[in-house]
Symmetry: C2
Subunit: 116 residues, 2 copies
Amino acid sequence: MVVDQLTPDQADRVFHALADRTRRDIVRRVLGGEASVSALGRQYPMSLTAVQKHVAVLELAGLVTKTRRGREQIVRADLDPVRRATALLDQFEALWRARMDRMGDLLAEPEQGATK
Amino acid sequence: MVVDQLTPDQADRVFHALADRTRRDIVRRVLGGEASVSALGRQYPMSLTAVQKHVAVLELAGLVTKTRRGREQIVRADLDPVRRATALLDQFEALWRARMDRMGDLLAEPEQGATK
DNA sequence: CTGATCTACAACCATCTGGTTGTTGATTAC
DNA sequence: GTAATCAACAACCAGATGGTTGTAGATCAG
């Protein structure tokens, strides 16, 4: 398996980070190409400090990394946690299908006599 | 397209709902088979009221539905919002690949003369 | 050197979150 | 009928969240 699971704590942070419109938009933006914190700040109708905090939340979730370049702080996206979150959701899908299979088995069983 | 997008508000609710261990566990549990609220309540080291609230959050996100059966309230999972969330994450993946393609184009270009 | 830019950080605030206890109302079991 | 079970709801609480303003440290441009 290429992408392994998120720990529960990581999942908490990743999903929480994605549970905010502004943060999802920041992720989209830096996925399309890196950006400085101040450049991001200019894109949203809120203070730069607020955007800094959003970036910090994304950073804590591992969705984004910051590296200094001169006086600017460059924000880049990391897709790994996104892939792991997707894997977690796919696991839900698998649970669902497992249940469907079990129900199919039941329906396929001879009506009266129990299987054992 | 079979699964269309989540609205930003729905995405807020779905990701927020998934940003809690107990709630993710409840989703897993009811994906494996429906359960009453009180049965769920017995599974976690917290009050029934707390579990009721978690179920309510999941319900608001559309991840789960409740239906009465006698004095019990049966909780069932709905995978649709999960699939839509997955689609949103896949869209991130697509943005990433689009950038990779653009970078590839740049590298493939003749070094000096601009493209236009 | 001086001023503008980019960032960090502290303090504050209103609201939301995740939990609690206690009360009440249906429904089921005896 | 009475008691137990299941669920809803109100009220409360500590802590997190998402925002603000203000101050201050680096770095860059003139």
